[in-house]
Amino acid sequence: MTAASAEVGTRRPPWTVVAGRELRDLWLGGRGLPLMVVYALLLSVTSYLVASNQALNFLEQREAVSLTLQVAVAVGGLLVLLGAADAVSGERERATLESLLLVPASRRQLVLGKAVAAMSLWIAAFVVAMPYLWYLGRGVGVVTSAVFSGLVVGTLLALFLAGFGMFTSTLAGSNRLSLSVCLLGLLALYAPTQMPSGVQNAWVGDLLLHVDPFTAGLHFLGAVIVNGHSFGAEASWLIGPLVAAVVAVAAALAAAGQLTLGSGDRS
């Protein structure tokens, strides 16, 4: 990132310069493309299993589109989280954070640039998922709703996970701690999807499903794609992901203002 200091100082906002460098590192020299290859293989296996099952009825085919989209959104979110969780703590662990902090840009701008690079993983993941959604959904007329609902839900969840990952990474002393906390948090957010349906129908369970951005987002996708409900009818399920995204991004920007060389050093 030392070369970034030369670029910052031009008329471009500093965060765009940082984001540009991070994007180049991620996609030309880093792990962006290998992650996309693995992600595409996962979607290929899922799609082939669905397409080779001749016993699927119409509704099950819609469920297959929903399943593929949910896998795409969930794994895309996981990639964003991995990218964000490593962003600051990784630099700290590799002893490159000091040179990054010397860049003439505010700390929030540095974190914002890194968050944009992490978000690019979701954008790429969504672009990779689109051909699979088109193939599986064209016969049952759900391509448009799948693409649009997937973009909305996936982007909200990716923003939330980018904020959560950046917040954790900024405060964590080591990369291992940052990744552990992030993955544990992600597992905890997935847990309500496994609740028995009886618990989900109780008001506490229903509230939890609405509040948890993952369960709410995935429920929205299922209702729109499988049941054919309109976006407006299910819009209440987007409140949880929206609030979570705003809170997580705000927390990440607040923590970024306190970014220091060492996690415990607040001087």
Binding site: W27, L28, G29, L33, P34, M36, V37, A40, L41, L43, S44, V45, S47, Y48, V50, A51, S52, N53, Q54, A55, L56, N57, F58, L59, E60, Q61, V128, P131, Y132, Y135, L136, R138, G139, V140, G141
Partner: protein
Amino acid sequence: MRGWIAGLIFLLLVIAAATPAAATRDLAPASSAASGLSVTNDQNALSTRIGERFSFTSTVRNDSRMDRPGVVAHLDVVTLDPDVYVDPEDWSSQRTEFLGTVPAAGLTRIDWKVQAVNSGDFVLFVSLTTLEGTDRVTTSSALRVTIASQQTLNAGGILPLVLGLPAGLLALMLGAAVHRRRRLHQVR
């Protein structure tokens, strides 16, 4: 001559017996003499395509002189193909209607909304029972539904996608690695 006329009458009787039921007979109410309840459907056959939604109306009549409380109507789907599995829940999420009381000499109508989720030949029918008082179940005549299939998925068709996309990304990754290595050599 008399034998010829007798033969003709016999032939007419055979033809009459072999003729498929007329629509009026298909729509005739199925009624339970004991309860006086009957149910009819407004259609007896329809054709559609897989994935399409269709609806039909059942009319529940109470031909007795007494009110019938706690009447329950239930829609069911039967496949005529032994190789097709039908989950009626997939066809209609609202298959049981609690109609309450059907007044004496009165009627109640039910609109059923159904989605064709399997292809083939099916029979839909409506059963009636009451919450209390009788163990009798009354059923409607059959609504015969023919659903045309539509091939939307095949394992062969998706192969170029499931192999091509990861292969393309792999090639892109290798290209980026080669490009990076060349630049490193140039810098050195």
